[in-house]
Symmetry: D2
């Protein structure tokens, strides 16, 4: 049993963390902070938790957080980096669901997030928490950077081919589609139902913050720095789910790509390579921590097409955070993450 | 005033034709046939037409159709080709909204549609009805093949760069997304709301019938036959709209692509090139015959990204059919097509 | 041709007014004001208007408005009443789409809208603009109060039985359902797609501002003041549409209710009584100014059940405003309002 | 550990049963039959079950079912009544999710379901499985009739006031709204997304099969047979959820209705009475077995308004079936039913 705190739990990743942690057999949730909702029972803001969780939001309180074994930070970008040092010094481990520790290079962080990094020395120690890529380092992480939603779906789809060096690195394309919960719970005209439902659009084509994160992953997987990556995110009129459609051009003979993916992921508890010819649907992972992947090599095409789906709030955020927690504390990796997707 | 008949008007392209033709000042709708709904007032099946259209469905009746100046065929693939000869011989002009006359090569048609072509000699005469590509030929068409929905959005997005020979033909990618009305009004488990809403998926990646139609267009635009085209369609949980995300790799200096598109389409009544940096939303064309296009050249990418949106039932089907009718009969091209998109 | 101005045209009733007025043959739109969007072309905020309307938003400017024959006020509640006097004195006629002039009794207004009425003397003159109830007065209205969306659907459903005195006034029930565009275009957590889609709820059961407006109508229709009215609004996860399910208990023999409704509305251009046994769908009026009504008298029930549907933004707001304008200025009542609903 | 079989598990109640039973600690799922899908792995039809359930559909096989302790029948209406006798004689207990054993009077059954009842003698023994009404009888049920979805939401909302005799029985109104999964997984034009999304309608106003079931419950709760019940179901454009809006007219002083409901349900594991003034949202019970209820007594109204929400596939079908199983076999009533609703 570990003592767990959550900082900033009023957004969608916050409520999703609570849904997963409330029944987790090894977790005692001791504190959840929110400046705006301090004093309010969590189940009042999120009635789905009525009867499952008695805790109330409290004012941010470092002393209370220092009593925890683990703190999840579900705050906006730029907050965790200002408080991490103090918690780490108190021996608390941190899982940051925001972007503060995802990019190893502080110059890249500053360029894309528009502010200097407040805690560069922890950037070096921070571990990027994509278990399928670097489970070993996660075990001992003091500060864990939980990956972004798009980067999770994309990197899991790219990894097997990229680490084998079988595709051209100068022409990678990730055409990605996300449900509206990815935009968060903030009041915002663009994701009002009357605006975003019954429509489809791309956004951020000139530049999106997940681009440098994916690019960093491509560099790590391939060992090469000369990468040409085109990333186009789109907004889908549904609540949950990400679908990445990945285009990679082989540099030569690639062999049996289906078998390559199946072998790579055969022991992974949360990556499911579908039979050849499949088309994964985002609803098959709604509410679950799975990533489902299918591989296609269309005739008369020079591309390998990989389809990768996740629930952006689970494997793309809070579920992966719990998976990382399980790894960090030596719990069974699937503990508390055995939900079957809700379908229909 | 011309006499117009519709064959098979019970599907979504049928009701959309009726919405557009009912108030058209040059059209007298004299007959609409449907085997299954014969005798039923059209406005009974489609209550939105109550008060706008008094006509009832009748049994298929060639004699009545021969009295028309123009017949729209909104039947399933493979039907129009069996009846076109007789109508043409009677001097009736035909606009086929299905695929029967879209592919010039009967062998390709047979391969993709699974049956031999029943009327090859009309294939030669038939005109492919994408006005922005071949308005001149449309004017005198006896048999007009109305383009498919995906091919319309894709070809309008590709045309300016392809006809100038500025991009690599061996590596064209069309990542396309369509609302569920594209699947038609037939009873079908896959597009039940409980199945398709709140989910996103690709389909037909190994092969889709719009691929050869797009490929044929690429060959015509470029004048080259060695084409590598990857086409991945996806199902979006919304009713109307297509969004094509097109990836093209320049072969050299391309100059000002924005200006190229603006110049190409400046006199087109239904193609609207958005200001640089835009992201067109499908809802901005819902119910209208417009195609809206935006061009992007992301940094650190080797691709030109073109975004193209249409309403699949209007510019992607019935609206384009009416546009073609206007051209064929010398009416003002926008006549009856000035609807402003419904937003929100 | 009349000169028309719009005050506060950035919300959904604003863009809907523009969609209807842009092609209206008798309207010259000369000014549209918005403090927040001054200087921005209207078609930039609402891209569906690109190519249809060249005008830009301007700063509020009473001098310019005074040049108009008619001003539509599409501002929040409480604004029109502060500026109406000056415009009226300049001879401008006003159609207010907000609630400022809907309630004849200033005390009731103050109770429900939380502020004293700023222009009580105009309240007396103001005409409530439900044409099916009081077309004659509308013709000469200087200040016209355009009805609320729920009150329109409900009153049209109640009118024939109430004006005949056939049902109990102490036990009227209006169970109403509205799409999310009724909540407006303001940034608001509750109508984010991730919140309101895929859910259904009642709201405002203890009291809603449309209750006194409906009650006032019931009193007028029935000539009785002792009214017991239960009004329960619900939020439907769709963009447009209102469905009112009305329960009325007959006080005695009611005769042929279907015939009563058909007779009442047979000459109304925008009320369509469906055949007995029908269930109107909101989509059959999407984008159109129609109200569709069906009457049921279920077995083993003591109630007459009336179903009434409108598009909340058209007959429930901007379409009805244009209908009122047509009546006020002697134009054909359907002018500019012949749109066929978009279906599917 | 009990051996459990499922007959006809390809519909939505079937997959939902599987989602709940797969991880249930006391259940061994030994057989699931489907004529149409025999031989196909369950997880192939429902990919959300991949990795959670290895079983395949088999041909209907009474011998195999007789080996079970319990059989869930998830077949269409009229099937279970033809096979129940044989299973009961073999000592197998049955939970029927269809309507075959819900109505005690075979004449009423025949009237509403259009066929004579094939097993009248079991009707007498069959227990109606609404635990909050008759938990004691459920314990020993051999044949259990699992309630309909609407009847569950409505009866739980009516029960406390009706069993106290505080409201008029001749004027009960249940205005109910259901998501589209209630229409089942059969191919059907009316619930295609392109038809049912973005629209709202009533249906079955002249008569719906859940009316006699609710009426039977009202008679049982009240002990009175003279009941006037108006039931109007509506179709909501969402996948899961039922919202019942109930109108009851007090016959005299009713006292503290909020306290009455809280007292009635305080020990119920799956009924949650919300604080006074609340508006329950269906999404707060999505995927969970809870029923959430709120009570209102609006001013100037002669009605008590009760709002009751459930997930139609869980508390309205498969979850309630599992709850009944738990009661019948002496398991902890919440076993396998502790899912937290998925929100957003």
């Amino acid at each position: 049993m570990i003592k767990v705190g959550i900082v900033g739990g009023t957004g969608y990743t916050g409520v999703e963390l609570l849904r997963l942690l409330a029944p987790h057999p090894k977790v005692e949730l001791t504190v959840i902070t929110s400046r705006s909702e301090a004093g309010r029972p969590v189940a009042d803001l999120y009635p789905n938790l009525r009867g499952h969780l008695e805790i109330a939001f409290t004012e941010p309180d470092t002393a209370a957080l220092k009593q925890c074994d683990l703190v999840f930070s579900a705050t906006p970008n730029g907050v965790a980096m200002t408080t991490a040092r103090e918690l780490v010094d108190a021996g608390v481990r941190i899982i940051d669901l925001a972007a503060d520790f995802r990019l190893a290079d502080p110059a890249v962080w500053e360029k894309w997030y528009g502010m200097p990094h407040a805690c560069e020395e922890l950037l070096t120690e921070a571990v990027y928490g994509l278990p399928e890529m670097n489970r070993a380092e996660i075990k001992s992480a003091q500060v864990l950077a939980n990956p972004g939603c798009y980067p999770t779906a994309v990197q899991l789809g790219l990894l097997p081919l990229l680490e084998k060096g079988l595709v051209a690195l100068d022409s990678l394309i990730a055409d990605c589609k996300s449900g509206v919960s990815g935009a968060g719970r903030g009041a915002n005209v663009g994701t009002l139902q009357a605006e975003s439902a019954e429509s489809f659009k791309a956004y951020g084509v000139p530049g999106h913050r997940h681009w440098p994160e994916i690019r960093q992953g491509v560099v790590r997987m391939s060992g090469q720095d000369a990468v040409g990556l085109t990333f186009v995110p789109h907004l889908v009129p549904m609540i949950r789910g990400i679908h990445a459609t990945l285009y990679m051009r082989p540099t030569g003979e690639v062999g049996d790509v289906q078998a390559l993916y199946e072998a790579k992921y055969k022991d992974e508890p949360f990556v499911d390579v579908l039979p050849a010819g499949s088309h994964p649907e985002t609803r098959t992972v709604r509410g679950s921590n799975s990533c489902r992947i299918a591989i296609h090599q269309p005739e008369d095409s020079d591309q390998i097409v990989v389809l990768s789906v996740i629930d952006n709030l689970v494997k793309g955020a809070s579920g992966q955070a719990v998976q990382n927690m399980n790894i960090m504390f030596g719990f069974e990796e699937k503990m508390g993450l055995d939900q079957i997707a809700l379908m229909p």
